[in-house]
Structure formats: structure tokens, C-alpha cells
Amino acid sequence: MHVKSDQRTRVIFTLNGRERSGHAEPRMQLSDFLRHEMGATGTHIGCEHGVCGACTVLVDGRASRACLMLAVQVHGRRLETVESLAEDGGLNDLQQAFHNHHALQCGFCTAGILMSCSEFLARVPAPTETQVRDMLSGHLCRCTGYTGIVNAVLEVAATRRQFQEGDTEQENNNV
């Protein structure tokens, strides 16, 4: 499809479980589109060149830099942003762990970090500290020195494993 540079096209996609649509010029960055067209201001913009990671969102489940994507690229796709994390009105386990471990100060980089961590924990249920730090190296946080973030992620991984083992035991007992 050929689109003129100043022509706005309709972008229909799933944002945090709901179908949303908006109009975007071909050059509009996904980060700007989410924030200013969709009102999803939880996703922050820190560098617009893909280094700081503040704008990280999940596109079809993969952590992606919203500043390095165009809005038109998400047409027909599924997006999750930080606004998707809270469950039943309360913080989810990862958010709660960030709170408990003082893993945020100004909170500006936090949204992106939470999204990367969410994807990572789904992929790597039993990470080592080195793996966690390696994953976090895609993000810049200038406030915390990262300690609280690392501890929060490790704790969530351990707790989720415990639960899962508990579930498995339960299932085994039921059998």
C-alpha cells in the first residue's frame, strides 16, 4: 500500500486487551502515538534512539522499543504497556516486588523495565542474577543503581516457581 507522507491512516490494534484505533501519519513513532493519540502516557520517552529502554512495550508478546517503531507497524497487532500489569485493581507481583525492594525512585524508566521484566520472567522462569542483570542492561536507570530492581526480579521468579511447584504438587496429589 502506498501512503503519502502527510496522509493519516487508520491503525487498528489491541492495546492492553481492548481493541483500539487511531490515526497516524506514516512517520509517527509508536511511542508518540501511544502517548498522545491513545492517552497511554505510562510509556515514557527517554532517548528516542533505542538505548534507554524507557519506552519498552510488548508487541505480540515481544519486548520492543516503541521509539524505534512506527505507529502504522502495529496495525493488527497486540500491544501491552505498563497500564496492563495491575490485576484486579491491585499491583501485580512484579510491581509489588518493585515497591517492596525500593526498585524505583523517579519512576520514569520503570514502565519500560517492568515490561522487559515481564517478558523475561515468562521466558526464563529460573534466572540467575547474571541473567537478570544482562536482561536489565537494555535499560538505563539513573536513580537506583539497579540493586532493588535485580532483587525484585529474582524474588518474583522464586515466588512464582514456588507457586508453580505448589500447584504441581497439588495436581500430583489430586492424581
Binding site: 528516542e48 499491583l91 543503581g145
Partner: protein, 995 residues
Amino acid sequence: MNAFESPTLDKRSGHIGKRQTRVEDDALLRGQGRYGDDLATPPGTLHAAVLRSPHAHARLTSLDVSRALAMPGVHGVLTGDDVKRWAQPFPVGVRQPMDHWCVAVDKVRYVGEPVAVVIAENRYLAEDALEGVCVGYEPLPVAVDTEAAIADGAVILHEAVGANVVNDRRFCYGDPQTAFDTAERRVSLKVRFPRSSCTPIECYFVLAQYDVASGGYDVTSNFQGPFALHSVMTRALKVPGNLLRLRTPPDSGGSFGIKQGVFPYVVMMGLAARKVGAPVKWVEDRLEHLQASSSSTNRVTEVEAAVTHDGRVTALRLDQLDDCGAYLRAPEPATFYRMHGNLTGAYAIRHLEVRNRVVMTNKTPTGLNRGFGGPQVYFALERLMQRIATELDLDPLEVIRRNLIPSGSFPYRAAAGALLDSGDYPKAVALGIEEGGLAELLERRKAARRAGRLYGIGYTVAVEPSISNMGYITTAMTPEERRKAGPKNGAVSTATISVGPLGDISAHVSSTPQGQGHRTVVAQVIAEVLGVPLESISVNVELDTGKDAWSIASGNYSSRFSGAVAGAVYNAALKIKQRLAVIAAEQWGVDAERVRFGEGRVFVDGGDASASFHRIAGATHWSPGTLPESESGGLRETAFWTPPELVAPDDNDLINSSLCYGFIFDYCGVEIDRITGAVRIDRYVTLHDAGRMLNPDLVDGQVRGGFAQGLGVALMEEFAYGDDGSFISGTFADYLVPTAVEVPEPLILHMETPSPFTPLGAKGVGEGNNMSTPVCVANGVADALGIKDIELPLTPSKVRTLMGFDEPPRPEGVGEEVAKQTPGGSLLTASDSVEIPGTPRQVFDNLLDPDTLAAIIPGCHALELTGENAYRADVTVGVGMIRARFDARVALRDLDPPHALRLSGAGTSSMGSAEGSAKIRLTEIEGGKTRLDYDYEASVGGKVASVGGRMLQSASKMIIAQIFTRLSRHLGGAAPKASLWQRIKRLVTGKGGQS
């Protein structure tokens, strides 16, 4: 002292000093924070983009905005002429004829200096229209290196001043001359401290409105204070203080001092709003932020100590050059004087001689940056202590210990006037040695060295000043100048507490936090004093100069929250408490001193009377008629607090530059990789005595964050400039900051010696590691390598150089790189050759043909003949992520048909400037072809230059190659055949050729 101050706390609820999780977190973790760019804007808000100078130093010869104004969505362009009409230059902290306008009016003095502001319907359109502003520059010689800038013959930035040293002060305390004359030993050192910034992840934000009826400005910005700068802004805007309503958003994405530097943009966007008659919003991008926002000063220090044989320092001599960049922007030259009273650090050194020179160079103006002045001072002082140990063959820690201010001597008046409030330095060092496991670390070093590894231990002690004296900056003036100007001193903090009709408590502080958790601590203090649940207290930290209590010391700087602001909160809470106690006492017929507060209730000590807090407090609203006569009804108290210890500098230049002085003792074990030169932190121990800790979790958070930033300064961060003043650290790929893999977990130790001067005994703790960590790591590396001259950042390549590493010979068969980069980083030179079909004559004639030229210049939109063999071209060039449309002049010179000619071009764009020339030689070769040899030289400046030399190198190579590919095609051939050299290179390396 009021009657309720002692005993201060009735039923210790334990809120103060508790590891309390933060009330700020919930919203931030949900993505519900309200940072500047998240706020709703008024209908019709327009968006600004700033056109910036690509030159480090140039005279503005012309400015034509007509093309920009004709572009889609553009509402106006703010220029220097508008600024001259409506505003005036910012006041300067020293008496010198230097004009700093918010938009350049006659000259530009640093790369990135604002030249015009385009205001359009959205950010994209505004940035597009930057291309439409045509600026004429007459480039001038530059002064970039600090020492070169003060040398004879250096170009002067501010001609009216007549020199690049804009402030030169000498200080003498005690009798340093005699101490040096009679010294048993002298040890000296010269150090250079680089520029850096703590780079908050949120950049600057301004939303400005102009009210034409009142002539006033209403601006929301993530400005962090000090609000003394509000006066600087109103002076520039030529309005009284009450016609600049300055507000801050509820949340700010970090600052670390840097967001002080947004203030020129507050003025600029206010004027932009006035220009277009609509609200104007501007959100700075990262490239702008790195290049042109603010930074710490870079400093050159020569330091010398008079020393006894056993390492006791009797006198100190400091000659400091502080490089404040192109303008002395308020509050500079504060970087010098923030540390002045405590220049002798943690040591009992009574004789001190100082020369401070403030230097202007063609670099971005400097300002607050976490640690403010501390990293520069301690880098010199603590490196010197390490050198004393080395030169006298003593243990470095022993040298430190012998010089510490002795126990039991606090408050201690330091040589230059700091009244060090409290502490026990020898005890703290002993504690650090013991609990940090120094003995084991020494063993590790022994073992590592036995195994032939490069391992070193670094030590640092530092005094961390907090709650700065608003008068310290006047130390830059002579006593006589100060007498004329009138004394400046103090540090007023404010807090307001209101209790609503249902007993609900709201508090406001003017501390503009940027992530430190002030709301949590304020709630802790109030909960403790009034005996109410923490959750019932709502704390607002937005500051609105139009209706909040504030003063010049408001804002978030100099680690003033825990000592000063939390102290004011405490005082305001005591006022509320006193009023409620009187009310309850009258109701119950008891003495007010017997009334107690706790667990949400008000009760009588040892009596039966008791009521809920909300009932007693609510009476001030619902039934004021029943209250004691002293009561006016309503319940809202504001406390202003300023410490009497902060007096103006005296006639001998003694200055108590801060109220509190914490103590830090750091040591680290570092290991250096012999092959890569990488510095690995094996262990880092940091001990802090910051007085009483109000919330140890938040204290540790500050320490960890400061440590990570200090480590960045030690190992990777530097705002680097080319010799021509181009900025070459322009992206987060060039300016590296530590990530989770580079930051180890420090061992944090605490000692608590309450400050006698703050209401809660607390001191600041936020900046200590920014001061101590860079030099501690440097001392570790000095110990590991046994070398004297250490320059930060200690990148692997720099460390390899320090190690005296010889580069291994080039592997056989690998040719020399064609392109050579100059140290400046932006001048690119290379040569190459291509084969082109056609005779030299055909090639030559084609090059002289405008149509051919238009066709072969990549990205050429239009080419217009302006003279014989001279053209004006409109060209789009892309380098990396940056694309820019250049207005270029192209000329063909030195014509020697059909053998040689020179193709030269120079262009400017919103992204920077570029110029270059290529000497072309044509030689006939067999097969009716021509070999075209070319040598070219290209230089770039501005944002384009900031993408880094390597990328530019390959980009320019590619663009030049494209020209000749196109020429070859134009002559009916295929892509030109690669030269022999290229073919060989391709055979050898598997790559090369047309890149």
C-alpha cells in the same frame, strides 16, 4: 523553643527512622505518574522546536525565517530580534559585561546554542520547519581547552570582558606561606576532572502561556530550583515576580541538579507563547539534552601540600580553573563556592591558600549536577593524599587517619570557614575498616598480586555538605563588592500543613522532588508528631509560585530535604499540635502540656479524657465558637525555617557554605584486566554518617544511586568535545552510562551522629558518593598500576595507555586504514580511486555540467547556478539516525581540463554544518576509461558531528563513493569498477570496496 518541642514525641509511633516503603510508588508502577509531558495542555497549544548553532563560535550574519513561515502548520518563529525587544539578558553572578540571552542575538558561543524557535501545530511540523530557517554564520576561532583558553592569544568569547577568565579570586587562610617555607616535604599534583551529567531519563519540559491582558507569564516546567532563579527569570522577562507564575508537575523523571538548567527555556518558551499568542509546549529530546542542556564543570587543579615526614599535612595550596562553558549561567560560579568553606575536606589543615579562576570556553554552560563541586574538589584532594602516601612511602589509609579532624572537636570551624556540625571521623573510619572487612580485602590484594594480577585498593574520605548557604555564592565577590551589594545568607525552607473538616491532613512542601520519596518522609514526620496513621496524610509536592509558600531556597538541591525541609515539616506539625493541645486542654480543663497524641487520638497523659484526632481538629472548622479565645478557626500552619548558623561570608572571606556536613569513608578493591584494560570493581565499601536517618531505605537508595553515577564518572562518562568545539558525546551510544551489568552492589555502612543544627538531627546524604566514588576508584587504579597521573573516565583504552601498552603489529596482509581521523574527531580525510567509462575529457565535461552535477549528488533536490561553476544546492543527507536537509554551496575550482579539478561544498542545516572539498585527478587508462583519483577532506559540526567519528567516517565515504557511482552510471557505464587496491582489500579481508 516552644513548650511542645520537648518532649517532642509523645508516644513514639516509630515512623521517623523506619524503613518505610514509599507512598509514591503505587501510581508510578501503574504508569499513572504525572510527568510534564503527561499533563493535559490547554486547547490550541502549539509545539516548539529549537534551532541550534552547529558552530562552537560564530558571528550571526543573517537570519531568514521566511521559508519556515511558509511551511505547513507553522505559526511563528522566535528570533533574537524578538528576544531583544521583549526581554533582556540573564543577570550574571559576577560583575562582568557578559550578555547571555535565551536566544543568540549576535554571536553563538557553543554548539547547540539556541538561535531560533519554530512554533508549529505539532512537534513533527515544528522540526520540519527548522530546515526552513536560514542562518548566516561567520565562523570564528574557538577556545575549547580550558588551559588554552586562558593562554595568550586565545580567542575571547566575551569581547567586552577582554579575557576568558571572568572571575579571579585569591584566598588565604592561616599562614600557608610560612607552612610551605618550613615544610619538611612538599607534594604536588595536577589533575583534570572531566565534564559529565547525571542525565535524568526525563529531559526538560516547558509549557508556557502569556497573558496579554496582565503582561504575565504562566509556565509549567520540570524546573527543580533553586527558586532564587525565579528572580533571574523575571529579570530576563522584565516582569515583577508576581507576573511569572511558575509551576512544577506532580512528578519529575529525575534531575540530579540538571533540571536547574531548564530555566533559560522557561524564559524562551514564555516569549515563544507571546510571539504566537497561544500556549506553547516544548519537550527537549535526548540529543538536545546531551549536547546543550547543562553539565558539571570540568576543572583543572594544581594542588600542593606542605607535609611533615610522617605524612601530616600542615598547609594546602590550590590553584583551580573551573570551566563554566560559554556563559556564566546562574548560579555559576557556584560550583567553586559550594565547597569553599570545606575545601580542606575531613582534615585538620589550618593553613590554606586558594586561587579560583572561572574560565569561559566554547562549550555548553554548566550548572548544578549531583555532587556539585564535590567531585572536582575531592578528586584533587584525595588523589593528593594518595600521592603523599606514595611519595613518603606510607600507608595511604594511615596518611588519611593522621590528618583527620580529631574526635570530640565538633562543631569544628574549618580553615575556610565551614562549621562542621557533628561527627566522629576517626571512629567512623575505624568502623568502616572493621565492618567493611578491610583486612580481608588486603589479603585479596596480596593474593591477586602474588598471582601476577593487577589489583589495587583505593581509599577516600569526604565531607558531604548539605543545605547550602544562599550567601555562599557571594564569596566570588570581594569583601568590598559584597558590602556594596548587601549581605546574602540563610536558606529558608517552608512547609504547610492543613487539617480538613474531617480531620484529614494535607501537607505541602516546596522541595520539588525528583524521585527521592519526599512525600513519604513528610508523611512519616507528620504521622509521628500528630500520632495519626501514615495513610491518612496526603502530601503535595507540586510547587506553584502563584499560591504556595516558597522562598529563594525552595527546590531540590544541595541535599536540603532531610535536614531543612523535613525540619520545616516537623515545625509546622508542632504548630498544629500545639493549637490542638490548647483546644483539647480547654475542653477537658487540663493543662495543655498534659495533652498527648497517638494512634489517631488525642488524650490526657495519665487521665481519662480522650477524643479522636478528627473530632478535636474538626472543631476548628465546625464549631470555632467553642474554641479558646486564642483560636481564629480553621487549621492550617506554614512553617518557615532558616538556620542562624548560615551567615554571610565575612571580611576575611570565611564562609560557612553549608549547614550540615556528613562524613563518608569509602574504599574499594579494583582489578584491571591486563589484556583489555577494563577496570573491575571487586568490592566497594561506603560508610556514611548523615546524622539521623529519617528513612534508612531511602538513604540506601540515595547511596546506591549516587554510587552508580560516581562509578559512571570514574569509568565511562564524559562530555567530550573536538578541538573545533564540536560535541562528540551526542547520543546514549556515545555517552555511556552504567547499566546493571556494570554496577556492583556496594557494601553500605551507617553511623548516626545527629546534627545539632537541624530540627530532626538529619543531614543530607544524596550526593556523597558522587563526590567520593570517582576518586576512590581512581586511587584504586593508581594503586594497582603504581602511576601518578590518572585522568577520568578510566575507559579500557585509557587504562591500557596508562599501562604503557604497545599495540601489537598489524597482522600481515592487512592494509593501513585509508581514512585518518584527527584528534578533533570531526575532520575527516581520505583518498580513493575509481575507474569510470569514458575519456578524461568526457568525465571532466560531465562534471562541469549542472544537470550531471544535480544527478550525481546523492539526495540533491535542486541545484541552482549562482555563478561560474558555482551552485546552490538543496541536499538531504542521512547519517545514522540523523537526516538533515542542507542548504549547500557547491563550487568547482582549480580547473585544469581535462586532468584535474577541485569539487568543494559547504552546507548548513538544522542538524549541523558540513564542509568539504575533493581534489580530483583524471588519468586515461586502457579500454577508453578514466581512472579518477580523489583526496577529500570533510568537516562537520553540530548535531551531525555528535553521532561519533566512526559513523561519520563510513557515512562520508559512502556519500563520496555514491557521487562517483552515479557519475559512472551517468556516463553510461555500470557502477565503477573497484580500484585495484579495493579489489586486493576485498580478497584479503572479505569486505571493503564500496561501503
